[in-house]
């Protein structure tokens, strides 16, 4: 049985791919196309001939296929007759590209850092599953953009220069996101429920969004270069959450820095979709940084320099009762 898969009509995105126009001109058509709901058969994964002998590529395709199946998308091997295909190839500079084709027309392209299992999952996530709300045509209301779920257990803030200097300049994060001080070693996190008011565009109803679940992850943070990054493996993760909140099961260590994120996973008119992993992507408001800049190959901005996980929400665990002050490094 063929499952309907991601509803993408991204023809407008084809024109945008690789260009570097002003972000405001790009955002609308991409977002508008993501709202469309349409089934288009099954997805075929393949590698171009020059790469087909590579073990890495075969492992990549297998990982992508397993992950897609786990997310409810039927994936088959290379079949020219497939309505949609994801083709992996290598760029001239050695970078890998994952291209999404529909009816023989490339409608999306993603640059991959490598061919790891994480890259395979990212390809499926971003090319087939991602949900973007419409462009609201307004200035960002805070550090967290509308396409991400906003924390409700506390307000994400940005440190002033003086606060950074007073506190400790070594805590300076990308965008100067404040480190929220947790009061408990098993804290509770909450976030806004999905769908939000603005997710339901004209022509849709809340009933179109079904089986909404949340996935939560919290990672140890570590300083790398000029900002913080998440560790490769999560400290704790939870999926299938029916309510927009989660309490950690394991105790956090004292005096540690962590980064957490959340996303909604749901069905839109029967097809699997999910929101972006949430983060404070609007901290550089003048830059209008957004994760999809790098996805759309818009690599000339500061946004392209940092992985979206650099913007996950930053928190500190409670102070060590045996120490006068926390020492984080």
């Amino acid at each position: 049985m063929r499952n309907p898969v991601a509803p993408l009509v991204l023809l407008p995105a084809l024109a945008m791919c690789g260009c570097s126009s002003a972000p405001s001109k790009i955002e609308l058509p991409v977002l508008a196309s993501y709202q469309s709901v349409e089934s288009y058969g099954f997805v075929a994964l393949e590698a171009e001939a020059t790469l087909s002998g590579s073990t890495d590529v075969r492992e990549f395709l297998a990982a992508a296929q397993d992950y897609a199946l786990a997310r409810g998308i039927e994936v088959k091997g290379a079949e020219p007759s497939a309505d949609s295909r994801i083709v992996v190839s290598a760029d001239d500079d050695g970078a890998y590209l994952a291209g999404l084709y529909r009816s023989g027309v490339q409608i999306d392209e993603l640059r991959l850092a490598g061919l790891s299992e994480a890259d395979a999952q990212r390809a499926i996530d971003e090319m087939l599953l991602l949900w973007h709300p419409p462009d609201l045509g307004r200035k960002p209301r805070g550090p967290v953009p509308e396409f991400a779920l906003r924390p409700t257990s506390y307000a994400v803030k940005k440190d002033s220069f003086f606060a950074l200097m007073k506190d400790n300049v070594e805590h300076m994060n990308i965008g100067h996101q404040s480190w929220h001080q947790l009061a408990s070693r098993t804290p509770s996190f909450s976030w806004e429920a999905f769908p939000r008011e603005w997710d339901v565009v004209p022509g849709m109803s809340r009933d179109d969004f079904r089986n909404v679940r949340y996935e939560f992850r919290i990672y140890p943070a570590h300083l790398k270069g000029i900002g913080y990054r998440v560790r490769a493996s999560a400290l704790e993760e939870a999926s299938g959450l029916t309510e927009p909140h989660y309490t950690l099961q394991e105790k956090l260590d004292f005096c540690r820095q962590y980064m957490w994120t959340v996303r909604a996973v749901f069905e839109l008119n029967g097809v699997p979709r999910q929101t972006e992993w949430a983060g404070a992507f609007n901290l550089y408001q003048s830059m209008q940084e957004k994760p999809w800049f790098s996805r759309r190959n818009l690599r000339r901005t500061l946004a392209a320099r940092f992985d979206p996980s650099s913007y996950f929400f930053t928190v500190r665990s409670p102070k060590n009762p045996f120490a006068e002050a926390c020492v984080y490094h």
């Binding site: 409670p318 009762p321 002050a325 490094h329």
Partner: protein
């Protein structure tokens, strides 16, 4: 190479030893408490035993011959721990035992503590060790230095000038030297002398930059400058303060 290292090096090259700036890193304290400290405000007797030092444990044969050395180290650690305890827990008395190396029982006890073995309460009874004891703290110390890195840097350069018949020669202020890091890692295990149970574990880690540098003006060497912080004593005192907070009940509400 991080900024603080550059600041230290630049300061040294300029002849201004930025001790405050270079001494920025603090001791990182970690801890876990398993049993609450009863009556934290009441006076307590605590005994400290140096279980291991830089990988040399008393039960090792080669370390047995170094007992006088370990006895000296024991006394040094007792002093710095006591100094820290005095700041955060004046009600705690560090009972110094003068029988190090003389008592086979105590030696075995220390070896077992260092190995993390459970110790029965009767072995910590007053009759066994000679005085009333509330807690016994075994301490392990690892001290190390990183590889030394050669550094050469030009601080300022004046190309010189010709002012009429007077020629000012070029002047370069530069220097060379080495930089490295000193690290001290202290781990303590706190046992209840009443029950013999492990009641908590604390650790203190400190890494600080060290260097020596010879400033030179063109070809004229100046006085060499060196800085090698005593991370062991500093982290030991902070461990003493942390132990003081432990015995004062600061962690009673955060039991594992």
């Amino acid at each position: 190479m991080n900024t603080s290292v550059n600041v230290c090096r630049l300061g040294a090259l300029l002849g201004v030893v930025l001790l405050v700036a270079c001494g920025g890193p603090q001791t990182r304290i970690d801890g876990r408490q398993y049993v609450a400290v009863k009556n934290p405000e009441q006076p307590k007797n605590v005994m400290l035993v140096l279980g291991s030092y830089s990988g040399c444990a008393p039960e090792d044969r080669e370390c047995r011959d170094r007992l006088p050395v370990l006895a000296k180290l024991q006394a040094e650690f007792e002093s710095c721990i006591d100094s820290g305890l005095g700041r955060t827990a004046p009600q705690v008395t560090l009972v110094r035992h003068a029988r190090w190396g003389e008592s086979a029982d105590l030696e075995r006890l220390i070896a077992e503590l260092a190995a993390g073995k459970p110790v029965s309460a009767d072995r910590l009874a007053p009759a066994e060790i000679g005085f009333e004891l509330d807690y016994l703290v075994s301490i392990g110390v690892e001290k190390s230095s990183s590889d030394k890195e050669f550094v050469a840097e030009i601080v300022a350069a004046d190309p010189g000038a010709a002012a009429g018949p007077i020629i000012i020669p070029p002047t370069v202020v530069w220097g060379f030297g080495q930089q490295w890091t000193n690290t001290a890692a202290i781990k303590t295990r706190v046992f209840s002398a009443r029950t013999g149970k492990l009641t908590g574990e604390l650790s203190a880690d400190l890494t600080e930059d060290a260097f020596w540098v010879l400033p030179v003006i063109t070809v004229i060497p100046l006085v060499p400058i060196s800085w090698s912080p005593d991370v062991e004593t500093k982290s030991c005192k902070e461990m003493g303060e942390a132990l003081g907070r432990f015995f004062s009940g600061a962690g009673n509400q955060y039991l594992e």
